[in-house]
């Protein structure tokens, strides 16, 4: 058998292995070849062709053959692109509600936000490792309740969930408005769209963070559930 013949058969077996859904058995390969000598020569040629020079590998799996990408190349292709995206408004609000109202069910979150939560929103928070299921509410349907995780405390630089400022503190920062008039309401509606005011708020919050968070927090340390006592709307 000359080199041309080997090439001829090598081409057939190459295409056969490539196009077969499952690894191809020796038996099937031999069916396409005139004799054992050709089998040996063809497989040797294929090994050469799909050797270290190639990004592909001729793999033996039991008595079967397959062509697969080599591991080093596959890793290369599966490059991980990391990108950062700000959390969506919906996710942010959901996270905030979970943080302040935990343990809280999905239905309760929706009630507070006034809109339903898309699956994706919870998924993102779960994926970020910021929330976790906490148990089940002892109400009909036994809905899962959600709370924040250690990852949440870590990310937001909190030692304890009670470190979150309560509503009164939020009011002092201006994040939560008090003594509202119609114009205040209109303005806070604007805020939803217009983040230009945010800088101003930031300043106030910074004051708060330095002044109050660091010094004065202990007052609502006790009373796990009490720190939100002023939030009467809560179910």
């Amino acid at each position: 058998m000359n080199a041309n013949d080997i090439t001829h058969f090598r081409r057939i077996i190459e295409a056969l292995i490539f196009a077969s859904a499952e690894p191809v058995t020796d038996r099937v390969i031999r069916q396409h070849l005139p004799d054992d000598a050709t089998y040996d020569a063809v497989m040797a040629a294929l090994h050469l062709r799909y050797g270290p020079e190639s990004g592909l590998d001729l793999c033996r799996i039991d008595d079967r053959w397959a062509i697969r990408t080599t591991e080093d190349v596959a890793d290369h292709l599966r490059s991980i692109k990391e990108s950062e995206k700000p959390l969506s408004r919906a996710a942010l609000e959901t996270l905030a509600i979970i943080a302040y109202h935990q343990p809280v069910t999905r239905a309760e979150i929706e009630e507070i936000r006034g809109v339903s939560i898309s699956r994706g929103t919870m998924d993102i928070l779960l994926e970020m490792g910021w929330i976790r299921p906490k148990g089940r509410r002892r109400t009909p349907g036994r809905p899962v309740t959600w709370g924040t995780s250690h990852g949440f405390l870590d990310h937001f630089g909190l030692t304890d969930i009670n470190d979150l400022p309560g509503l009164e503190e939020l009011k002092k920062t201006g994040l939560l408005r008090q003594g509202q008039t119609i114009s205040d309401v209109l303005r806070s509606d604007d805020d939803l769209e217009d983040s230009a005011d945010a800088d101003e708020d930031q300043l106030m919050l910074d004051d708060l963070l330095t002044d109050e968070i660091e010094n004065d927090w202990d007052e609502d340390e006790e009373g796990e559930g009490d720190y939100l006592a002023e939030d009467e709307d809560k179910p």
Binding site: E82, S83, E84, K85, R89, A91, L95, I97, Q202
Partner: protein
């Protein structure tokens, strides 16, 4: 490999074999152009050389024999027949108007073109199917691996974002409470009723302000009461129940009931 073409052949054979199966034959054609094309192929191998007049005659004869057999013929075949009959008459009887004669030739040309074009597309479809097609003559790798670079999106949020979001939720809740309190604004109806009662007991001209309810706490309450009482007073003047007086710009407004003499 192309069953559909075999179908067409059998339709053609049926047509040639006689009229009994005419109905089936028409059914086997995809419209009048298809039938014309089939008739034209009988006439000439090279469709470019086709003579439209005999083709029209063949078509008409064919449709007529179907009619004689009382076969239901779809409307588009009949429309085509009518059109071909018209074309035939125009081609046969040279028109005194050379312009109209030209039009008939144009029509014949258009028909020929249509036949050629469909024929070309038939041929093209066969050539397409004869190409080395994937899954027939060529094969793709059957064990695809996926390397979509996994893009890991990590979401960022600061404590400030979180607090702000919560603040806004809380704000929204307060806003909804406030909507209810807004309904406590002094309505004009209330003011009309109140003013209508009070004015009966008032003697002479009185400052409009003196009619305002006493328990107005906020400036908003006050302003709304003033506005609605002023509107109410205007309504009463319109209805002839009261008269209004203002001595100078921005000065106090005085009100008096009409039955009374000032």
């Amino acid at each position: 490999m192309n069953e559909p073409f075999e179908e067409q052949l059998s339709a053609k054979e049926a047509r040639q074999s006689g009229q009994l199966s005419l109905f089936l034959v028409l059914d086997g054609y995809e419209g009048p152009i298809d039938l014309l094309l089939d008739l034209a192929r009988d006439q000439k191998i090279d469709l470019a050389q086709i003579a439209i007049l005999p083709l029209a005659e063949q078509y008409l004869a064919y449709i007529n024999s179907a009619r004689d057999l009382d076969i239901d013929i779809a409307a588009d075949y009949l429309v085509m027949a009518a059109w071909l009959a018209y074309l035939k008459s125009r081609l046969l009887l040279p028109d005194p108007e050379p312009e109209e004669q030209m039009e008939a030739l144009d029509m014949a040309e258009a028909l020929k073109r249509q036949l050629l074009r469909l024929e070309a597309m038939r041929k093209a479809s066969q050539e397409l199917m004869a190409l080395p097609r994937l899954g027939i003559k060529r094969f793709s790798g059957a064990r695809p691996e996926r390397f979509d670079s996994v893009s890991v999106v990590s979401h960022t949020a600061t404590l400030y974002d979180l607090l702000q979001a919560y603040g806004q939720i809380a704000n929204r809740e307060e806003a909804s409470t406030l909507t209810i309190s807004a309904s406590h604004l002094y309505s004009v109806e209330e003011a009309v009723a109140r003013l209508g009662e009070l004015i009966k007991y008032a003697k002479g001209w009185n400052n409009l302000l003196s009619f305002l309810p006493p328990n107005l706490k906020t400036s908003l309450d006050r302003r709304s009461a003033l506005a609605s009482h002023f509107t109410a007073s205007l309504e009463m003047v319109r209805d002839g129940q009261a008269r209004l007086r203002q001595d100078n710009h921005f000065g106090p407004i005085y009100l008096v009931a009409t039955e009374q003499k000032s």
